[in-house]
Symmetry: C2
Subunit: 312 residues, 2 copies
């Protein structure tokens, strides 16, 4: 194989009550990576589209190629040569798992080109190296669902233990990205290191409720459980109009609405595509009323994960 | 109906990672309440067996009759008269939901005698009044599973929101009560009011893992998730030989082992009755080696809850 083109999906991490442990993949948007084999060894970045020139072209400092270098090192391959093109289809620092989608597309593309030496699940630690480069910590709640698809739980990091949760087939996600920026590192720094036992218990109850609700298709339970008493109250202050936009989503029939990852994107879950679209319009117009433009993405939960668009 | 005799099961609350939100009912032991109608209004306690004279015979101060008085008050019934006999089949302050089983047997017996004006679920707030009397707080993690059977999640108290989780039919519980006493109020007082965000996240991951593992019958996931990083490390110091007994259970094939409720009873889960019995012997002999006698109860998860033994 001399050429491959791979799509990897955006993701919603945390999912209200599941800080650092829940994430799911969406159908749209997502990043695309192209790899073209070249005869001389070494990986170079040929071009990056859609990043407004903000990402480094140095292969040793860009998540999309760092993950490839880690995989080649692990496999003991030193003579591989390729040039890489990255299509960023979502903004950086958006809370939609932008760097994760690039890392996942990159590592999956390379793994396919090499004849699939590792399984998708075995690629996870390599994709996490991209997060370490891009966000300062090797989190799995974006790369995990982007790589494996569906709704993912990261039960533990040491050792790494992840598993998928079945969700209702008709569950839809509205993802809204307002044109404001929140730095993921800042969003983490404002969190307190301690939480009250009372809030921890409330959150644990909601984690149990969301898992059970998703697995049994109990929309009432899903809705009552999509409550975050620990992280959202702190991070919401970084997102202008958060309360108003959330209220608009809930009044339009959302099962729940919270921050996507570290923000500023917000997401809502809904029972049908039509509801999800109505929720998106309500959220967009609430941002617009405050002079903030936004992009709305409506999709199902993406159970497939990365997709090979072309190979030759 | 002039006479009724009702059994209500013991329960394991917390279930390792689910402090205040998880509980399940066992087949054995359990308390039994008899109600005999009498012509003159008022409820009196005729006799209590098995409490070594420690429970009050005053109907206004005993959980078993307090729940009945609350139910009669709610229903606006002032002319009902009965005498009550309580058979305590487990020790007080054992961590097996002793007071909860009495409260549940009492309120279910009265509700049946009155022609079942309320559903089992509607009886929960009344049973919780017994916990308030006996333990100082209206907890639901013992009365809930004792009343409703099975594995129960208490997602929220305000408003009260509980739901059952399906568990593998062959799941067995070993419950071991060592002859030492821990006061539930003391066991709660030694807990810290704050937990680290890191530990809260770990616990949330385990809550998600235990729910998913139980619902899908994934014993590996159940086992890895039966880890409590918040409560057990603090309360274990109140139980002599805790670490040794837990180790003996794990080495005998337990899926997990932790404190039952506030202790001092300990419980383990296992894949078969034979395994559960072997685990019980190992736990009992480890206590015995330290000069502590103990009682062992092996049973499945009781999906039925309270049982009417006789009615006339």
């Amino acid at each position: 194989m001399d050429y491959i083109k791979v799509f990897a999906p955006a993701t919603v991490a945390n999912v209200a009550c599941g800080f650092d442990i829940f994430g799911f993949a969406v159908d749209n948007p997502g990043d695309i990576v192209e790899i073209k084999r070249k005869p001389e060894p070494g990986i170079e970045i040929e071009a990056i589209y859609g990043d407004e020139g903000r990402l480094p072209l140095d292969a040793g400092r860009n998540a999309v190629t760092v993950v490839m270098l880690h995989l080649l090192g692990h496999l003991g391959i030193s003579d591989f040569g390729a040039s890489v093109i990255l299509h960023k289809n979502m903004p950086l620092g958006s809370g939609m798992g932008s760097s994760a989608a690039s890392s996942v597309a990159g590592v999956v593309a390379l793994n396919e080109m090499l004849g699939r030496p590792l399984s998708r699940k075995e690629l996870l630690p390599f994709a996490m190296q991209g997060e370490l480069m891009a966000a300062g910590a090797a989190h799995a709640d974006n790369v995990g669902p982007s790589l494996l698809g569906g709704f993912l739980v990261i039960r533990s990091y040491k050792p790494l233990d992840v598993f998928n949760i079945a969700v209702p087939a008709e569950l839809y996600c509205t993802l809204v990205h307002p044109d404001v920026e929140v730095n993921t590192k800042d969003a983490r720094l404002i969190l307190r290191n301690e939480v009250s036992l009372k809030n921890a218990i409330t959150q644990m109850g909601n984690v149990a409720g969301l898992i059970s609700g998703l697995m049994t298709g109990d929309y009432g339970l899903i809705s009552r459980s999509m409550v975050d008493v620990i992280i959202e109250p702190v991070r919401a202050i970084l997102i202008p109009e958060f309360n108003e936009v959330k209220q608009a989503a809930m009044e339009s029939g959302a099962l729940g609405c919270s921050i996507s990852g570290a923000g500023p994107s917000m997401f809502a879950l809904a029972r049908t595509r039509a509801e999800a679209e109505g929720i998106g319009e309500a959220m967009k117009s609430t941002f617009a009323a405050a002079g903030i433009s936004s992009n709305v993405f409506v999709s199902g939960i993406n159970s497939e994960g990365p997709r090979i668009l072309a190979a030759d």
